[in-house]
């Protein structure tokens, strides 16, 4: 029996776990106590993640589609088929006819090689990952406002806040161990303010719950800013020293109507005032947010609105303050850091055709020297653009690594048609996901317990996960698979995790001072860490704002792309439940979890239920212009009148059949949090 220290494979909290290995099998999972994150705690998903490793559904060998069937093949055959087909398509249609989707659940080393493969081997910037549909507005918005796209303060620092503004986030279910930090803070006297259209579980711990109307966040946040200035609670000293364009922002706010804000948000002006005063005066105050802020057509503006609020009150760069996005997958922060996005290189180095800035030019040259190849200078396609290009026939081939885009993207039918339209689809996964079923070639990837590498959690902490067992069956790590395909295409990409990490720290400014040794010695390193002596940066913007000066920006309110009308009188919102994770390819295979919850459902308010004569547990239809689903009704006043809410985990009754694929133009995120729908009683 041995115990191997690793990182939990689910959300972005980055809980430290031990795999208990017995007779070559992972037979259990335990939390670690001595660390700065979970301190002996895990959530229900974490405790049983060992079941996934040993599950009989694991893909055992490569598969190639012959006729309509997926047939067992050798690694050699699968690798050469993929290499050959990619080369062919590059030759006839150009490099930009290929798109790569990386996985936020693979290691930094694997993500780094994913983008390197796209840029240096294929020759395209068409590389992206699932941050697109979660926190891309965070990265874009926070970089624009503050110069760095990360969570500003550590998870443990939440307990130092006197006021917590939790907006568009349900950590009790989506980040349970971060919820523990919030509960700890409340137990020690911190005031919690929750802004959410639903009564989420942490509402039972809050001082105030602002049950806003879906998609009205900008109105609410701007109102808070206006009131803070009116009440003279703004931190003038901080603004003068650290920010710019405040007057412009303030002038626009002067025309902002609080009365209208109250109407649109559904929150009375007095409550808005109390909230603004609490946030601005009972300091330090911390903002914690997640996808309820980002997954809107105004996602980036929503994030920038929150940045205004933090800057306005000087709640930045100090303990207990900050603007803290909670990242949803265990390495989605790493995915962004590693440049798995169509317009940045690792370390957020912007790619543009002009490359005006000398520093950027030099940095890109450093990459080109290392890659012994040119980096394409035109911006590549984001995932929604890849789907569109596939539909229009411009994108011919895709390699989807460890993501079930068919279940997780908005407007499922559109994604389905796009995948069908591709000439060649490659999928790497541990299970036969819905997306994998459509593939021409499937690579069996090994699981998180069968490889080593680093993961970067939501608080920018780079942590090491260790190999508990050798890859099962014929599976291989994504690092090795990428390397094999690249070599077959004539380009040498390494697959030793430590060597790859050394290349990452050489090229990525924020990771410059990070090494495997330092991670081990310190128990993780929070970037930026720029030199050997640097121990990392727990709190961002401490001495000065990363951007130099924080930029105030007046975010304009736009109503959701779809609002209820006569035909579709409800708002439909979506999210996660405690027991499942994203497309549930993993959690639905965990016995106790699936026993607890295996079916999709829709939450609706008792008043609406009565209007339609619907009983709790009854099967009803939820419909809109994109599709219809039959699901169980869960009648609860956790949702307000006029709002429906569904989890998006269940591929059998996929909620994303209904969601809207309208985009935030700045970040490319879908408006997954709001669309219009109706319900029907089934006879």
């Amino acid at each position: 029996m041995k115990r191997v220290l690793a990182i939990c494979p689910y959300c972005g909290t980055g809980c430290n776990i031990y795999f208990q290995v017995q007779d070559g099998k992972v037979k259990g999972v335990y939390p670690s106590y001595n660390n700065n994150i979970n301190q002996g705690k895990l959530c229900v998903k974490g405790y049983s993640c060992a079941e996934i490793i040993n599950h009989p559904d694991r893909l055992r060998y490569p598969l190639i589609k012959k006729g309509n069937k997926l047939v067992k093949s050798s690694w050699n055959e699968a690798i050469s088929k993929v290499a050959q087909k990619f080369s062919e398509i590059i030759k006839t249609d150009g490099s930009d006819a290929v798109g790569i989707i990386g996985s936020a659940r693979t290691t930094n080393e694997e993500l780094y090689q994913t983008q390197k493969f796209a840029r240096a081997v294929i020759g395209t910037n068409n590389v992206d990952h699932c941050a697109r549909i979660c926190h891309s507005p965070t990265v874009v918005g926070l970089i624009k406002s503050l110069g760095s796209g990360g969570m500003t303060n550590p998870i443990s620092d939440i307990e130092n806040a006197k006021t917590i503004l939790l907006i568009g986030s349900n950590p009790y279910e989506a980040h349970p161990i971060i919820a523990w930090r919030i509960i700890n803070a409340v137990d020690k006297g911190t005031d919690l303010i929750v802004v959410d259209p639903r009564k989420t579980p942490l509402v039972k711990f809050c001082k105030k719950h602002l049950q806003i109307k879906p998609g009205s966040d900008i109105k609410l946040i701007n109102a808070l800013c206006k009131i803070i200035i009116e009440e003279k609670l703004d931190d003038k000293d901080f603004i003068e020293k650290n920010c710019e364009r405040f007057n412009e922002f303030n002038n626009k706010l002067k025309k902002f109507s609080l009365k209208e804000a109250a109407e649109i948000t559904g929150i009375e002006e007095d409550t808005l005032r109390d909230t603004a005063i609490a946030y601005a005066s009972n300091r330090p105050s911390s903002i914690i947010y997640a996808l309820g802020i980002t997954e809107h057509i105004t996602g980036t503006s929503n994030v920038r609105a929150l940045a205004n609020l933090a800057m306005l009150t000087g709640n930045l760069g100090k303990e207990g303050t900050g603007i803290n996005p909670l990242r949803g997958q265990n390495n989605v922060q790493g995915g962004c850091d590693m440049g798995v996005a169509p317009y940045i290189l690792p370390g957020y180095i912007a790619i543009s055709s002009s490359c005006e800035k000398e520093t950027e030019k030099n940095l890109i040259e450093k990459f080109e020297k290392q890659y012994k190849n040119k980096i394409p200078k035109t911006k590549g396609l984001m995932i929604p653009e890849m789907i569109k290009a596939a539909l229009e026939g411009d994108l011919k081939a895709m390699w989807v690594i460890g993501e079930d885009i068919l279940t997780s993207e908005a407007n499922r039918d559109k994604t389905k048609k796009a995948l069908k339209n591709l000439e060649f689809l490659v999928v790497s996964d541990i299970f036969l996901s819905e997306t994998a079923k459509k593939a021409d070639v499937i690579f069996p990837a090994c699981s998180f317990a069968e490889k080593e590498g680093t993961f970067t959690n939501t608080e920018r902490r780079v942590q090491k996960s260790n190999k508990a067992i050798e890859p099962l069956f014929e599976s291989k790590s994504d690092l090795e698979i990428i390397s094999l395909v690249a070599r077959e295409m004539g380009y040498d990409i390494g697959f030793d995790p430590k060597e790859v990490f050394e290349e990452i720290s050489y090229l990525t400014p924020q990771y410059h001072g990070i090494s495997y040794e330092k991670i081990k010695k310190q128990g993780g390193v929070q970037w930026p860490c720029r030199s050997e002596e640097d121990e990392g940066t727990p709190i961002l913007h401490k001495d000065s704002i990363a951007r130099g000066r924080g930029e105030f920006f007046y975010p304009k309110f736009l109503p959701p792309d779809e609002t209820p009308d006569e035909n579709y009188p409800f708002y439909l919102s979506t999210g996660r439940i405690l027991f499942h994770f994203n497309s549930a390819t993993m959690t639905k295979r965990v016995y106790r979890i699936n026993r607890e919850f295996e079916e999709n459902f829709v939450m609706l308010n008792p008043i609406d239920a009565e209007k339609y004569g619907i009983k709790n547990g009854e099967l009803i239809a939820v419909e809109n212009i994109r599709g219809a689903l039959l699901v169980k009704a869960s009648v609860t006043d956790d949702v307000q009148e006029g709002l429906l809410w569904m989890p998006f985990h269940f591929a059998k009754k996929p909620t994303n059949q209904l969601t809207n694929d309208a985009l935030d133009p700045q970040s490319g995120v879908y408006e997954l949090k709001v669309c219009a729908a109706r319900i029907k009683k089934c006879q």
Binding site: V4, Q20, S32, N34, L42, Y47, N54, P56
Partner: protein, 323 residues
């Protein structure tokens, strides 16, 4: 029976462990990756940690009632027979905390009575237990609540403990050979105590209405992570499930938790304990009221609870809330 008390030095302890490890597998607290302490098989003396406060993170359950236990396998493509898991456990010697040893005795009650659980029995019969007295009290310990002493006074065969700089061995039954170099000393009685909650009036704790403050707290705080069950040294509930299909697969017995809604849900969907409060009332009855109390105050549920509502917190709220 009288207790003989000896002083031993470290080199003699080391030799002793080496000799014992020839007799069987040694299970003792050991430091893992982040410096966390776990009950582990010990290869050599250097890995052992005797001088620490509180309990290891895992429990002796790992060695007698595993989280996932394969009962049998089938692979009809290759053989028409079902392959039963045959365990032939070696003799094992575990150095364990008193709270965990009392918990093993509770497990014995459940798994050891007729009909005996075969797998459990095999492992249990081959397990020799040495008490590892607590000279330091952990942050979450409250064993004294249930009249369990951090350093056992009488109910042991052999007990080892650190006292200041000295290593003490107490022997009541010589269940295995003793270290070579021993210095007999006077018997010592040490009075240590962990946190002690008043549980005299505990019999009303299952009453949800009568303890609404407590149950409201539990209701909003319990995230159903099930850490309190999985890390409990005395929780014994399990479920049995098949992994695989008609051709090949295995039947596995795995830990379960009474806090899952699906734990008590019946085949047609009816649930006799439909709310979290009812499930907790049931859990607290099991832990504090039914038969022998099946909580030993190890504190792991408080250590692992992401809602800060482990047993210590519950008893403390109950005490305050008592009318």
């Amino acid at each position: 029976m009288s207790i003989k008390t000896y002083k031993i030095d470290k080199s003699s302890l080391k030799k002793w462990i080496e000799i014992l490890s020839k007799e069987g597998e040694i299970i003792a607290p050991k430091k893992e990756g982040n410096g966390d302490i776990f009950y582990s098989f010990i290869d050599n003396y250097e890995g052992i940690v005797f001088d620490f406060a509180g309990t290891p993170i895992n429990t002796p359950k790992d060695f007698i009632f595993e989280h996932y236990k394969t009962l049998f396998k089938w692979d009809f493509k290759n053989s028409p027979l079902i392959e039963e898991s045959k365990d032939e456990p070696k003799k094992r010697i575990i150095f364990a905390r008193n709270c965990d040893i009392k918990a093993i005795k509770l497990l014995d009650n459940w798994f050891g009575k007729n009909p005996k659980d075969d797998t459990y029995k095999k492992f249990r019969e081959n397990l020799l237990i040495i008490h590892l007295g607590c000279s330091k009290i952990g942050l979450f310990c409250f064993c004294s609540t249930f009249d369990i002493s951090p350093i056992e006074k009488f109910d042991f065969d052999m007990q080892i403990l650190f006292l200041n700089e000295d290593l003490i061995l107490q022997v009541k039954n010589e269940i295995m050979q003793l270290p070579q170099y021993l210095k007999k000393i006077e018997n010592i009685e040490i009075d240590t105590e962990t946190k002690k909650y008043n549980i005299e009036n505990i019999k009303n704790i299952a009453d949800i209405q009568g303890n609404n403050i407590l149950y409201d707290e539990i209701d909003r705080r319990c995230q159903v992570c099930d850490g309190c069950t999985f890390l409990c040294p005395a929780c014994s509930c399990f479920d049995i499930a098949d992994f695989g299909d008609e051709t090949s697969g295995e039947r596995v017995r795995m830990w379960d938790s009474c806090l899952f809604e699906s734990f008590t849900r019946m085949a047609k969907g009816y649930n006799p304990l439909p709310t979290k409060k009812e499930r907790w009332s049931h859990r607290l009855s099991c832990k504090l009221l039914f038969n022998e109390r099946s909580c030993t105050g190890c504190g792991r549920c408080d250590m692992s609870c992401p809602g800060n509502i482990g047993m210590s917190s519950i008893l403390s709220i109950y005490q305050k809330d008592e009318r």
